[in-house]
């Protein structure tokens, strides 16, 4: 086998389809790496060894019998552990889902399998996707391949780490406020937060339903586009998923088009690490030199985003997490006690501190007498923010910014300071609130070698421009 770790998904699927590579060999290689390097990084919560090999065999058999195979034939893939996958523990990084094995597949997982992908394991994550460092996982944090003492970011830290470590070429995470783009930036890989409604949420364990989106991570623009292409599109099981005409993302990824790129001054203000800023400004200069127009813009509502985000996300979470009550699945404590006692012991033992903090915050903002001041007001400002982006995208094709204010930080650095932790989402959360797509692309490094992520944002369903611009930057760099 050619060096597995250097193969892209696009190459793998071509070689598997032509019979040059065996899907089973690839799956074994990926599983082997997962058991060794993946274990060292604590990147997986569980592996789907038998099922992966079974899928790989099915792909190999289909190819031998000259039957058609999908566009991800034989590509080893990892899923964040909040995406339901039949027969595998789906823990959400939480104690409260102990032993929960879903009897159904998330639409995204089913589409991957249909496309010939081989799902090798479920990746580590912040508990219920609440966290920016992976430190809230019940299973202990995943580590950043860039440096053992660095957080991989969160909440999809495991998914970013397994791609950065080249255990799989493609993984899937989920975003509520930046949980794909931020770990992608910290680990030096590509991460996409698609338009809200473009990848089905059916089977994604909900955190903030109006913000949640599944998104792919990869090592290059083309693989990222491929992963998105296979999983996006209307799903009748998700009422918020949207039917839209989508282009051939991988086919149209190369373009001569010159973009107009807005630079929002609010994203380059206080709190931004100077080295990160320097890298982003360098990317801007490179693009400008290539003929793209880089222009200053203003998004005045930016400083409201984190406040709105934590109100909306926590409110929805407080309701979404009510089903974890010890009655039907997962952990149950206080079995012989009265109902209220059983509930409170189960939830006290099952949820970690960050999850409890957000449930309490969300319960508070929805409670009678506070709803108007918090949730209702936040919803209104959110709508204004959405319009602000819409207006902006009438002027510019794309927005450029840092993906995160700082590069990957150290374990423990922000754990005791939730507010500082929350601010690491300040450049990513606005896209979730507005429902627009965003991408984080690795671009340069700071002095000590930590990667920097450059973020591009686009209008609703304009993922194609995002893939094209990061492809351009990839070539220029």
């Amino acid at each position: 086998m050619p060096d597995y770790k250097n193969l892209t998904a696009t190459q793998i699927t071509a070689m598997v389809t032509s019979g040059e590579l065996s899907a089973v060999d690839l799956a074994e290689k990926a599983l082997d790496l997962a058991r060794t390097e993946g274990k060292g990084l604590n990147a997986f919560i569980s592996l789907c060894e038998d099922k992966a090999l079974e899928q790989a065999r099915a792909v190999d058999t289909a190819i031998k019998q000259a039957q058609p195979v999908g566009p991800l034939a034989g590509v080893p893939v990892a899923l964040k552990d909040n995406i339901c996958y039949t027969g595998s523990l789906t823990s959400c990084g939480s104690h409260i889902l102990d032993g929960f094995v879903p009897p159904y597949d998330a639409t995204c997982a089913a589409r991957l399998v249909d496309a010939g992908a081989v799902i090798i394991g479920k990746t580590n994550m912040d508990e219920f996707a609440m966290g920016s460092s992976n430190e809230t996982s019940y299973y202990g944090p995943a580590k950043n391949p860039v440096g053992e003492n660095l957080v991989p970011g969160g909440s999809s830290g495991g998914s970013a780490a397994v791609v950065a470590q080249r255990i799989v070429p493609i993984s899937f995470g989920s975003e509520t406020g930046g949980s794909v783009r931020q770990p992608a930036a910290f680990c030096g890989v590509y991460g996409l937060k698609p338009t809200y409604g473009s990848i089905s949420r059916y089977g994604l364990v909900a955190f903030g339903s109006s913000l949640d989106q599944i998104g792919p991570l990869a090592r290059n623009a083309e693989d990222l586009a491929l992963a998105y292409q296979v999983t996006c599109g209307r799903d009748p099981n998700d009422s918020t998923s949207v039917a839209f005409d989508h282009p051939d993302y991988t086919g149209e990824i190369d373009t001569d088009r010159k973009f107009t790129i807005g630079v929002p001054k609010e994203y380059f203000a206080e709190g931004l690490d100077p080295e990160v800023e320097a890298a982003v400004r360098d990317a801007m200069a490179v693009l400008e030199k290539d003929g793209h127009k880089v222009t200053d813009i203003s998004l005045p509502l930016t400083d409201k985003a984190i406040a709105i985000y934590y109100i909306v996300a926590c409110a929805e979470a407080s309701s979404n997490l009510a089903r974890f009550d010890g009655v039907r699945y997962g952990l149950r404590e206080g079995r012989d006690k009265e109902l209220a006692q059983m509930y409170s012991e189960t939830r006290a033992a099952g949820f970690g501190d960050e999850v409890k903090r957000r449930i309490m915050l969300g319960t508070y903002v929805l409670s009678s007498g506070y709803y108007d001041a918090y949730y209702l007001k936040a919803s209104k400002v959110r709508e204004l923010l959405r319009r602000e982006f819409e207006r902006t995208f009438e002027e510019v094709d794309l927005i450029i910014s840092p993906a995160t204010p700082t590069p990957a930080f150290k374990f423990g650095e922000k754990l005791d300071d939730p507010l500082a932790m929350y601010l690491s989402d300040m450049y990513t959360a606005p896209a979730n609130l507005a429902g627009i797509p965003g991408i984080s692309t690795p671009y340069g490094r700071v002095g000590d070698g930590r990667p920097v992520g450059v973020q591009f944002l686009a209008g609703h369903f304009n993922e194609l421009s995002l893939f094209q611009i990061v492809r351009i930057l990839e070539r220029l760099a």
């Binding site: 909040n82 995406i83 339901c84 789906t90 959400c92 889902l97 929960f100 879903p102 009897p103 159904y104 998330a106 949420r201 059916y202 089977g203 994604l204 364990v205 909900a206 903030g208 339903s209 109006s210 009748p236 099981n237 998700d238 009422s239 918020t240 409110a315 929805e316 407080s318 309701s319 997490l321 009510a322 089903r323 974890f324 009550d325 009655v327 039907r328 699945y329 109902l339 509930y343 319960t363 929805l366 409670s367 009678s368 709803y371 949730y375």
Partner: protein, 482 residues
């Protein structure tokens, strides 16, 4: 009202009606009563992590039918909301309901008030929501509570009235009419025992003549319309007595105990819910176009009151009879089908009310179980009218038809029940009877008119009851009086 010693009650009702759609409100599971526990479930109604609701269009249409039937307004845009509370039979930890933007608003129910007059109560709103599952508690407080989620996710509409009813009897009349409408438009079975219809009541009292509403209490846990009436009577008296004794009514929820016939306050802990409503982010706004609203309106059947009025004018029935016949859509349909095979509207009405309904009741059957088709009944009634059989025979034939489902001709033949109206066959028998009782003939002719019946009886006996009584009367009179 005199019965309440200077006070008048003000009553508003909240009715939950289960819609009998084939599948549940947000998933494809069957919506059915009586299946083995937890067999009608899926990831969505079990609230497995990651599962999402998808709205059942039929449930929306059923709600629209009810809104149209009561003359309410269907909102072009309505919003689902989450009502959050913890309970084991509510697996998501919230119920998907509607809050500040319900599907329907306004409309009214016209009902019989109990003292013979018709009254009208306006509706505040009609909204869609899903039902919870069922908790099966251990009988003696020992052991575990079990949960059955078959019912979970069944579509409901909640119909909220304005506080405009003035007596428990009116509340009963309102509920009866509401149930009739739900059944007519075929959206709900109306079966309160199976929980397909559930009713909570709000009630307050105020001095007669006062405009200001008193403090209201809420009554729950009634399982029949009569139970609602009784609970209201109890609570009204309690409130009046309390006020007269110088006390104040406190806003609270009471549970009706049918066995003890008392309403007892719920523990305050149980009622102090903050439901934390917010828009359901898993569903998009429900947008309904004019064309759909119009087609639903046009698909409605003739409503019971309109149909009763038509029965009076078209069939020349008395108001009471028309009301009985239009009580259910099935009975009214049955009557009208009989009338396509028979031409005496009142005779058909009488027969259905006295014979058919009695047999159904005695046999504890519903009309749709009845083996006698309207066509067969029309045939039977035609034979009575033409004199082929007597009314008395017809009852025997009808009973046999009811039991076997056979056509009247078949049964008449089997039983040899042809009525003899032919004079030439009856004259010899009559002459024989007259000849056999010369004493009575003399007494009759001497003025004892009562003896006429004796001769009729004898002729009927000789003919095994098959003689046409009218012919016998005529022939006997000719011979005895002539």
């Amino acid at each position: 009202m005199a019965v309440y010693k200077g006070f008048e009650p003000v009553i508003g009702l909240e009715v939950h009606a289960q819609l009998f759609t084939e599948s549940k409100m947000f998933c494809g599971c069957k919506s059915e009563y009586g299946a083995e526990a937890n067999t009608l479930t899926c990831p969505v109604c079990l609230a497995l992590p990651g599962a999402l609701p998808v709205l059942n269009k039929k449930a929306v249409e059923f709600a629209m039918r009810m809104i149209a039937a009561v003359g309410g307004k269907v909102h072009r845009r309505s919003v689902f909301a989450r009502k959050n509370y913890f309970y084991p039979d509510l697996p998501k930890g919230y119920q998907i309901s509607q809050f500040d933007k319900p599907i329907g608003e306004g409309g009214a129910i016209e009902y019989h008030s109990g003292n013979g007059s018709r009254k009208r109560c306006r509706l505040t709103r009609i909204h869609l929501e899903e039902d919870a599952g069922k908790s099966l508690h251990p009988e003696h407080g020992e052991g575990f509570t079990r949960v059955d989620l078959n019912r979970c996710g069944t579509p409901l509409i909640e119909i909220v009235s304005e506080p405009e009813m003035e007596s428990p009897e009116e509340a009963y009349g309102y509920l009866t009419k509401l149930k009739q409408i739900l059944q007519y438009i075929e959206v709900c079975s109306g079966d309160m025992e199976k929980g397909h219809l559930r009713c909570d009541a709000n009630v307050s009292v105020r001095p007669v003549g006062s405009e200001k509403l008193g403090t209201r209490t809420e009554l729950k846990n009634m399982n029949s319309f009569k139970g609602v009436e009784r609970a209201l009577k109890f609570e009204i008296v309690r409130q009046i007595d309390l006020i007269k004794a110088g006390g104040k009514v406190e806003q609270m929820t009471l549970l009706w105990d049918e066995k003890k016939q008392v309403a007892e306050p719920m523990r305050s802990k149980e009622e102090s819910h903050d439901y934390r409503y917010f828009p359901e982010p898993d569903l998009v706004n429900l947008v309904i176009g004019d064309a759909w609203i119009e087609s639903v309106r046009l698909s409605l059947p003739e409503m019971p009151d309109v149909r009763a009025d038509r029965f009076v004018s078209q069939y020349d029935l008395r108001t009471y009879d028309a009301a009985v016949l239009t009580d259910s859509r099935a009975l009214a349909d049955y009557y009208e089908q009989v009338m396509t095979h028979f031409d005496d509207a009142r005779a058909a009405s009488n027969w259905i009310q006295t014979e058919l309904l009695a047999l159904l009741k005695d046999n504890k059957q519903e009309l749709h179980d009845c083996l006698v088709s309207p066509e067969m009944l029309g045939e039977l009634l035609s034979k009575v009218k033409s004199g082929d059989i007597s009314g008395k025979m017809a009852k025997t034939v009808f009973e046999a038809m009811f039991a076997t489902g056979k056509a009247p001709d078949v049964i008449i033949k089997e039983k040899g029940l042809v009525q003899v109206s032919d004079e030439s066959s009856l004259i010899p028998i009559i002459e024989k009877v007259i000849a056999a009782y010369p004493d009575n003939v003399a007494k009759y002719r001497g003025g004892k008119a009562k003896l006429f019946g004796f001769f009729v009886g004898q002729v009927m006996k000789e003919t095994d009851g098959q003689a046409n009584p009218q012919t016998v009367n005529k022939l006997l009179k000719e011979r005895l009086d002539g």
